[in-house]
Symmetry: C2
Subunit: 493 residues, 2 copies
């Protein structure tokens, strides 16, 4: 298991390097390398010997409690092994290779807004994913197979139910605030923000959150992400927009939220299958909580605003917490998911969740995807997509073969709502701490209740420990309503 954990770190380093460092000419060799590592790793894992070792370990558990490291290791590994056993090593290698090639093709396609040239790569990924789905007969539907990889135990029907409820809440909320769109001014966020000063601001921000040069690094990437090769080697990435400040500021807080999760995983779980977080909904609950609930929350805006003023000067010198708070919480339907406000964000996800199910089930052809995408954006968000770079080509996920991944983003928002509510109950002075720029209390609370467990628990197991219930829409929606009521001077209920 330790050797397999090492190989997983290798795969993640190969991917990190490809996205941040590798010259483009390295792509063909990289794809082969990625495929080889995946194949070797897969063959090692699915061997009969692994099965015998799991059995022997299970026999020696001797009533260890379900949340012990030992019982969790056996439980999680058994589930992963049962699933991986059904997938031929060659298919796993082909998928890894296609992912690497697809990502590289996507960078060029997005730059040129060239969907037609990108079609063969997408078709290859969806062909492979259907062959992958065919390896399983134990799931209710095709999409469940995929969802389960990113959200262990997740079920499409349950996600659809949650998303229906969420959509039912979000759309009237959006209609209501749009009627009062003139009450919020986000013009302070637009201007001329030299990258070197942004770096200075982001450096300060990350240090407040716990970024430590001895165990972290930050680099630039087209599509920001976070990864880690141990709890003392955390890599985050961001991008810089010289005319729009939130891209870097909130992007960095988001990725740092992911990084804190990886950093917080217990030392005892390192070099085991539990040593990286497995539920991407849990992972996203961390990034979104730091980005939105903390970073866009009223208390911390009071600290961030004067800091922005100090760094950029000029008209921003007098920026105050209230002005910043309103500006960064302006709701406006838009084209780009990663730049969407917290309210419309969920609709961006629902579009993708619906479309990828249709693609997987063959109800939608790849070549018809841009048209369907644009129509869905018009219907749900009321926006016209001008070109594919601002439409279907904006995300790397499908290019990288990450199909079934998107819903975890919106689930993460819901979980973050539940956790943030609980954190406030446990830490009555949390707002005062954040208002003083002190993130230590929240970080340690998350480490204790979430991070240290690594992959021991599925999101529903963890939520059950934390809030005695399953993923729910309520707390997140209550949080949004409270915030928008302040920002827009409304009484949303």
């Amino acid at each position: 298991m330790a050797a397999l954990a090492d190989l997983k770190n290798v795969a993640q380093l190969l991917d990190w390097d490809q996205q941040t460092m590798m010259p483009p000419g390295g792509a063909p060799a990289r794809a082969e390398t990625v495929a080889t590592v995946q194949k070797i790793s897969h063959e090692m894992f699915v061997s009969d010997e692994t099965g015998r070792l799991i059995e022997a370990a299970a026999a020696r558990l001797d009533g260890a409690p379900a949340d012990s490291d030992e019982a969790s290791l056996v439980r999680v590994t058994t589930r992963q092994w049962d699933k991986a056993r059904r997938v031929p090593a060659q298919l796993a290698a082909d998928m890894a290779r296609a992912s690497s090639i697809g990502q590289q093709a996507w960078v060029a396609a997005r730059e040129a807004s060239d969907f037609a040239g990108f079609v063969p790569y997408l078709e290859r990924n969806f062909d492979l994913i259907r062959r992958y789905i065919d390896c399983f007969d134990s799931f209710d539907c095709a999409y469940d197979v995929l969802l389960d990889d990113y959200e262990p135990g997740g079920r499409t029907s349950e996600v659809a139910r949650l998303f229906d409820e969420l959509k039912g809440e979000l759309r009237p909320m959006i209609t209501e605030v749009e009627r009062h769109h003139d009450r919020v001014d986000d013009s302070p966020l637009y201007g001329d923000f030299p990258v070197d000063r942004q770096r200075q601001l982001v450096k300060w921000l990350l240090e407040q959150m716990g970024f430590d040069r001895a165990a972290w690094r930050i680099d630039d990437a087209v599509h920001p992400f976070a990864t880690g090769f141990s709890n003392h080697d955390v890599r985050i990435t961001t991008r810089w927009d010289e005319s729009f400040l939130p891209t870097s500021v909130y992007g960095a807080m988001h990725e740092c939220g992911h990084g804190l999760y990886e950093e917080g995983i217990a030392q005892s779980l390192q070099r085991t299958p539990l040593g990286h977080a497995e539920s991407l909904a849990l992972h996203e609950s961390q990034s979104r909580m730091w980005e939105n609930m903390v970073g866009r929350g009223r208390p911390f805006c009071g600290v961030l605003a004067p800091r922005i003023g100090d760094v950029f000067g000029g008209g921003l010198s007098a920026l105050d917490g209230d002005t910043l708070y309103r500006a960064v919480n302006r709701v406006a339907p838009s084209l780009i998911r990663v730049e969407a406000d917290e309210v419309t964000y969920g609709l961006h996800i629902i579009v993708r969740f619906e479309l990828e199910q249709e693609l997987v089930e063959g109800r939608l052809a790849i070549r018809d995807l841009p048209e369907a995408w644009n129509a869905r954006y018009k219907e749900y968000l009321g926006v016209e997509v001008p070109d594919d770079a601002h439409g279907v080509l904006q995300d790397v996920h499908w290019a990288a073969g990450l199909i079934g991944y998107f819903p975890t983003y919106a689930l993460g928002n819901l979980i973050a709502g539940q956790m943030f509510e609980r954190a406030h109950a446990d830490l009555p002075d949390l707002d005062a701490q954040l208002g003083a720029g002190d993130m230590h209390g929240l970080r340690e609370w998350l480490r204790e209740h979430v991070h240290r467990h690594g992959a021991k628990f599925s999101s529903s197991e963890l939520l059950d420990r934390l809030v005695s219930g399953p993923i729910a829409v309520g707390p997140f929606v209550d949080y949004l309503k409270a915030k928008l009521s302040q920002v827009y001077d409304l009484e949303l209920r």
Copy 2:
């Protein structure tokens, strides 16, 4: 073999990342990852199946000429397999782990000039290397086992003979030029050189040599090196000294010379054991040729001098080729190998070659190494070593378990002398090309005669094709005498 080539690229990426990117906290996990990759790779390679595949391939060669890709693949792989078979996978993994840990410890030890704290790491590496040597009974002496890893077919007795001859030539040469040390002024090389301007100069320089952003990258490293993950993904590193210009300029030319070798290896050899150069003496012949014979040669100094003037201005505005040529070829015994002039450089290597034999054979104890180092520097170079950072801790090699590696540097100088002589014979206007800043002719000549062959030939096989003879001291010494005669206005014969 392709999968093994992929794993070799993984190992090189892990190392590149550790030396350029990894936060220090990542070191323990990295060491385990490196060990795992080495163990898996070793087990795959030494398997009986590999033996059967080699035999089957050999049987199907059907009289293919020795320099064909196919025959070379069988010949080189057989030799590597025979050697690797004798080494237990666990030992290979332990050596890889110790190398990774040792490198990290070295960075800290060098910074603190703390040899005592570094002793356990060195002892571990030398213990392992002795266990490694014990795996073999087919070599004349212990050191041959090691040398053969870096210089296939190399023999200690032959290297000792060449080095004796070299030492006999260098020492009177040094004595002679030191008598006239006032004839050469290298003060233009010292001053205030802001790193951003150095980067600009180095960028231009590398582009002249063939650096292409689509297939190369350059980063900073404590101990500069070059590596590559394919002929289209070449990574070089350099370091910057704000008060001494040659560190970056000639360091970058040196590493770019290595990079051109990796880039020039034929496409047909990629993802095979022949896809990376194997003889480090050949590799070093390339880096040293570009650094010294080209970069410190009179023709190119005429192009470089005005460029330095343009970039740094001030007193350097009027720098001319003659002045630069003399300055960068000043001979002066010094402490640091990588900053040594071309003449004393060989003595730095001979010190290391002698000491590591004594260490391997147990004639010298690790704890006595600094004293022996300092005494040898006093004897051969006439310099006093002020502290271990400027003495025994200056190089990463022993820390990384690279024992038997150093002599390849001086052998590389000798081979470069032979090749540069031959290149001049083949390209009568080579000096005129370099004097016009045109490096294309030499680069293509090297690609044709050296680079494209990858690991097909040992250095002696390649030299036999090129100059119909073995490694020899004469051409390098003739080249030095001609240069020093110009630089010092002497008649060296």
